[in-house]
């Protein structure tokens, strides 16, 4: 147990987070603010009674995207097309919710599934580009993202635009076509779905043969190929699951407040990038991804609260995020370098 504690303290993640907090405090002092007050504002703003609902709503999206990006990352595949897959999921869910001639609860379920299917299909397209055309996944997923976002934007501005509104948004979903919320908060069943997805990811990662193959591919792709793991198939599967999760986040976004697809509302908060950061921070490990996604949700929501109460701009929390990542990247490189030298030396 002591070993585990000291191991955790020495881990690069802890170090990076602490370094981020310390350097952030120096920034605050430099700008004449009191770091203790500011950090306190972040924490009470995010975790206090007024903020926790907002934090959990943000967690739903950030964790969903973090999982979407962590799952392929576990095999060292990077899906940079989260925005496109999420937005397609959102617009597909909106169309399904608006036009499916079904009872409301079934519409909701169908909208979620349709959103996931749309995201999965679009991510699979990026995988196919790598598998069969030799376009690196990093490039294919990123570039495919832009037309998807533009398509959804076009749909929300023209064919699906709410008549009479000046905003680029669809009509509100019919009554009852929405995810059930907890009490009168904005937290919906979406959070439960995302947490279930995290649990499924953990189970697959630790206890299944495919999870083992994914981990080994991430640690040494040539090793798993040597043993017969078929890379193209794995890429396609992982990207499909990844896209499905991104689509789910989009669908949840549409099926929660404001119950419609608003152009830009899914991408503006930057869930994809925050999620990617969280996944990288946790090195795609299931439990770590959940923890770091929550951490970033706290920073995001707490930053707003801090800005309100202390006049420190919320961009500080973005600075914090960036510092954490820079330190993490630096720390991750260092042991590697030392190891290589050892290998040469022995």
């Amino acid at each position: 147990m002591n070993d585990r504690i000291s191991g955790a303290l020495r881990s690069p993640v802890t170090f990076s987070v602490l370094a981020g907090v310390v350097i952030g405090a120096l920034f605050l002092v430099g700008t004449g603010a009191d770091p203790v007050t500011a950090y306190e504002a972040v924490l009470t703003g995010a975790l206090g009674a007024d903020g926790i609902g907002s934090t959990l709503t943000t967690t739903t999206s950030v964790l969903g995207m973090a999982l979407a990006l962590a799952i392929p990352l576990r095999a060292r595949l990077i899906n940079l097309g989260g925005d496109g897959q999420m937005v397609l999921g959102g617009i597909t869910a909106a169309v399904t919710g608006l036009y499916a001639p079904l009872p409301a609860p079934l519409s909701v379920a169908l909208a979620l599934l349709a959103g996931m299917a749309a995201g999965a299909a679009y991510a699979a397209l990026a995988a196919l580009c790598e598998n069969h055309l030799g376009v690196p996944l990093l490039v294919s997923s990123l570039l495919l993202s832009y037309p998807a976002v533009s398509l959804a934007s076009y749909l929300a501005r023209y064919p699906l635009k709410e008549p009479g509104s000046s905003l680029p948004q669809t009509r509100t979903l019919p009554d009852g076509v929405e995810l059930p919320a907890f009490g009168d908060s904005t937290v919906t069943v979406g959070l439960v779905l995302v947490v279930l997805a995290a649990a499924a990811y953990w189970f697959t990662d630790r206890r299944t043969a495919i999870g083992y193959e994914i981990r080994m591919t991430g640690l040494n792709a040539r090793f798993s190929a040597y043993a017969g793991v078929e890379r193209r198939g794995l890429t396609l599967k992982l990207m499909s699951v990844s896209g499905a999760l991104a689509g789910l986040v989009g669908a949840i976004g549409v099926l929660s407040f404001p119950y419609r697809f608003v152009d830009g509302s899914l991408t503006a908060p930057g869930y994809t990038w925050t999620g990617l950061t969280a996944a990288l921070l946790a090195m795609a490990a299931p439990v770590g991804t959940v923890v770091s996604a929550f951490f970033f949700a706290v920073l995001q929501v707490g930053g707003l609260a801090m800005e309100r109460t202390t006049e420190v701009p919320r961009e500080l929390t973005q600075v914090l995020q960036a510092i954490v990542i820079v330190f993490l990247a630096a720390r991750l490189r260092l042991p590697g370098r030392r190891l290589n030298r050892r290998k040469e030396a022995v």
Partner: protein, 507 residues
Amino acid sequence: MTPPRAEPAVELRGITKRFPGTLANDAVDLTVRHGEIHALMGENGAGKSTLMSVLYGMELPDAGTIRVDGRDVDFASPSDAMAAGLGMVHQSFKLFGSLSVAENVVYAAEPRRFGLVDRAAARRRVRELAAEHGLAVDPDARVGDLPVGLRQRVEILKLLHRGARTLILDEPTAVLTPAEADALFAVLKSLAAEGRTVILVTHKLREVLEGSDRVTVLRDGRVVARLVTSETSADEIAAAMTGRAVELDRVHAPGTPGDVVLEVSGLATDAVRDVDLTVRAGEIVGIAGVAGNGQSELIEALAGLRPVGAGHVALQGEDITHASATERRLKGLAYVPEDRHAVGTAPDASVADNLAMGHHRTSLSSRGLLPPTAVRAHARRLVERFGIKASAPEASASALSGGNLQKLLIGRELAHDAPLLLVEQPTRGVDIGAIQNIHDQLIAYRDAGHAVLLVSAELSEIRGLADRVLVMYEGRITATYDKDAADERTLGLAMAGGSGKQVETVD
């Protein structure tokens, strides 16, 4: 400026170098005289490379002094060492493949004319050096087109061009044919006769006995023996390296071949042309050849990791020419690849995870589930059965020594109990002690009625293990020998493409 001869060319005193967790060099003294070929020997991890890195300014020692030509030196980088007259040929050559020999030789020390590189002078210089030292090589040839033996000459010319008086060669014969190695030693001897000094880092006993004047043996970071070559023997050096008496170059009794397990006909793929071969149950077939003559490509094609261009492959009578790697494994193939770090294992994964690979879809899992307890129990079984020294199944495989990692890899593949085992370079970079263990395992596997196809660059290994020997040269099987006919001279000649005569075939 000729240094006084009485002073040693290189004198290391009390060199200590510590890395996290290991003491790589522990108060090492090494004295190398002018004009001698001095062999530095030891098993992997004995500290040879560290010592040379310290001497060459790539690592700073924690303690100790270095004297070159009688002067105290303090190298901060290899360029300091070069300026003091040292030169090193690394195991993996540091050459520009797309540039000419002359361009490579003068690189970073180019003859200049009006501030530009004087190409004519560079070519002239290479010709002069080549003639002077008997290192014939065409200055205009593109280095990438040259065979390995000539590339090594380019490396040596590079050092001579920069005026190196002491040459350090790290495992120089690892990639050479026996004939090329002989040529190299002739060159080294003539360099020594000119008064230059050669430090030879190697673990090959034979060439040390034939080519060196004195030997320093390291074990566990310490000097354990200083020997005069003419007064020592292979057994004495091997005993010093391992700390116990070892039986060298054992030739195992032949097996009793049964049914054909692997039948290859007319196989062609990248770098492999028209290969026919059969391997029977209870037989080890060895493929000898200098690295880069198509052996790796052949094995990869057989393992299903490289598409087959033409020909047929049958495993136990079933056609597997175009089967995937997974299908081949299910039909009864196991494979120990050449590069255990990059291909055969995931060093960052745990010992247990490394041992599970390939078993994770068969014996260890049911309905897609892979219980961690089954993975750990499997790991404990194999660790015990194959004597793998690992602290725990959860320990990272990167913590294992080279020999133990190889035992892990071979144990994992043997545990499949597959009718056909493909093995590449099973003991490359493995300590003498572990070599015996691995050889015994392979022989036991054969005697249990399995077919083994062995690729090795070590002639002694091929001769010790194989019941039949095939020689591969430029992508073809150029000769086949029975165990008794496969003596070193014959094989060496065939490996160099010299003799294509078929002494006798069993089939």
